[in-house]
Symmetry: C2
Subunit: 151 residues, 2 copies
DNA sequence: ATGTATATTCGGAAAATATCGAATATGTCA
DNA sequence: TGACATATTCGATATTTTCCGAATATACAT
């Protein structure tokens, strides 16, 4: 089953095209688009068939997505089989981006401390401020979304 | 002049370490950290010396940063020399991230349209919603920051 | 126009990465 | 424990990316 249709192929490639420039390996990016389209969790054999990649590549890509929190594994009781599905709490991914913002802000502040030029110190502090503001805006947005969902 | 100090080296590498996983080539990432620390715009020869890279690499990296809007070039009247400096409107970079959010949201909606499964349609629309919300939150934050700056 | 200083592009070498099939490890059941 | 099913890792290969120095192009001044 599940020979991927033309339109789905396109969708998968479109999604991949967006993520690849941001450092996500092509296969992982395609897998992400693929998982979005799967109504239920799928196993490595099916991934391998549908995406026409080896099972080892499928395994590597799946665990990479897991690391990014873009996908989750579901272990099946009573068998070693693992199913992968797109992560439902999609917000996690944005949280990831937030971590970069925060880490960057912290580095900037640290750099400001160790700089001897007043101008540079000011610049780095300003940049840090923007990052923190961005992080806060994101967090607030996520909180609002969560409230809406549960409320 | 301007042999880079130990601490500055560290700063540069720390910044680079953050950006490389997001698809920024090492040399460009290091150049970015370096430019943050320079009080004034610098030319390719100096970059090449300080970062210990060839001038061609410096040229490529600088123009890549320019593309990312992380750096700007300043042409010097009366000479062919080009100076590079870190982009002052740092918000640009976040705007860049926003473009990914928006592009992704649009792809998701398009995918939702062409999907025949109700469940998938709903999932893709939900994901798109989060993306749009994130984009809006970012834009609002940037507006607020701009107002604060000019006000 | 020509010469000079500089940036950019080119071609090849080196390094990193992705991918595969085979080998290995791991979990599950009897 | 042994047998089986499945995931993961390993080693080799192919591909891609990065980097350099040399060659070329470009802008400016005389």
């Amino acid at each position: 089953m599940s020979i991927i249709e033309e339109q789905q192929q396109h969708f998968i490639d479109d999604i991949a095209r967006l993520f690849v420039p941001w450092g996500v390996p092509l296969t992982a990016a395609r897998l992400y688009g693929y998982l979005m389209l799967m109504p239920d969790a799928v196993d490595l054999d099916r991934i391998s068939d549908d995406l026409e990649i080896s099972k080892s590549s499928a395994s590597v890509a799946a665990r990479l997505l897991e690391q990014y929190t873009l996908a989750r594994r579901r272990s099946i009781r009573g068998t070693k089989r693992i199913l992968y599905e797109v992560s439902e709490n999609y917000e996690e991914m944005l949280g990831q981006q937030n971590r970069l913002l925060e880490a960057l802000a912290n580095q900037l502040l640290k750099g400001a401390e160790t700089s001897r030029s007043e101008k540079i110190q000011q610049r780095l502090r300003d940049m840090a401020e923007v990052n923190f503001a961005a992080r806060d805006a994101m967090n607030e947005m996520l909180r609002g979304l969560g409230a809406k969902r549960s409320g």
